[in-house]
């Protein structure tokens, strides 16, 4: 785990290599996180993977997040791991909500980390985040013909109303 000064060093070097790629950093609970510009996320991941001294060669997880009602609403989090040093680094890209008609977009990192293929499909399946350049952008867990992005915070939970004693008066003649 890079400590807080180490994280600032990484951010500084990244900003020198790709201008304004890093928008912020935070270091909490011993975990380091870079908040990056979504347009340059591929450059950042590639730099972290290939630069001597960094070499975060393993993408241990990729997931989508919905921060509603915060702005920007969506986020994609990359958990990088350097196996020889056992160091983890989190990279977070925040994407604005394009409105009800559009889908948030982010460049796909399958070319850098092949393991991202299924995980990007999962993020697409549950949050509707489209990864441009992904070889096979389909749903992975929900049925193909499913409509909606079920893990978004404004998606209805689903299920059926259950009658308890506190709400049975609201459903008249429920016992029939």
């Amino acid at each position: 785990m890079p400590d807080a000064p180490g994280l600032e060093l990484i951010a500084q070097e990244l900003n020198d290599a790709h201008s304004d790629a890093v928008l912020g950093t935070y270091h909490e609970h011993g975990e380091a996180c870079l908040i990056v510009d979504p347009a340059q996320v591929l450059e950042v991941l590639g730099w972290l993977r290939d630069t001597p001294g960094q070499e975060y060669r393993f993408l241990s997880s990729l997931h989508g997040v919905d921060y509603l009602p915060a702005e920007p609403r969506f986020g994609v989090v990359y958990e990088l791991l350097n196996m020889p040093r056992i160091e983890r680094l989190r990279v977070r890209a925040a994407i604005a909500d394009p409105g009800p008609d559009g889908l948030p977009e982010l460049p796909s990192c399958v070319e850098l980390f092949p393991t991202a293929e299924f995980q990007e499909r999962e993020a697409y399946d549950f949050f509707g985040i489209v990864f441009s350049g992904h070889p096979d952008m389909r749903r992975i867990l929900m049925p193909e013909e499913y409509v909606g992005w079920p893990q978004r915070r404004d998606f209805p939970i689903g299920g059926e109303p259950v009658i308890f004693t506190h709400n049975e008066r609201e459903t008249p003649r429920w016992y029939e």
Partner: protein
Amino acid sequence: MEVKREKVRALSPLDQPKTPEELRVRQMRARDLLRGDLDGDELEKHVTDSLLMTTLEKALDWGRANAVFPATFGLACCAIEMMSIVSPRYDIARFGAEAMRASPRQADLLILSGRVSIKMAPVVRRLYDQMLEPKWVIAMGACSSSAGMFANYAVVQGADKFMPVDLHVPGCPPRPEALLYGFNKLQRLIVGNPEPGWRKRYNAEGTEEWAREDVIVDQPSEASLATYGRARDVAKAAPVGEGS
């Protein structure tokens, strides 16, 4: 020959030979019958001793109820409890249902052991449709009966939304004893309700695919197609490696 119909006491101690001599007498009587030497009262006694009168339907239902072939089929965590009913501790072989069949074509009992997700529902329904009549279904546990704790977007709210269920076993998960008790109830159902087809049992005649007026075409909806088209267009627009 006059046949008196009375309540059958098959294999009850009253009908068993009480002494070795009596057994010997019966054996000799049977030998004489085979040789054709038996007639009169002796013949009548032999027939009333050794015949069991019933109807063919009753005999058939008795056989069906005591030779159920469950499908080897588990959906979720309830399947762990379901597996243990074959173990010597619970032993469903006592009720003649130990032969788990690996194909729905050979099975006549489907135990829905666990939650049915909306992606699994068509598969389960197809399995059920592939089973031959007569067939029965036990919904085991809260999830397959009513979705239990999974009141969400991914789980069917009760398996009887898409297929006929004969028996619900409550519990989360039910103990193997509970499932065995449910199975015994099902055996009584089979004996007491000999109607073999599920459509007749549940007044669903006329819902066969060939009997329906409306033609169901299995097509993705407009909304689904639109979403997919958009996602594919975006994904194709930017080739891999060029960034955005």
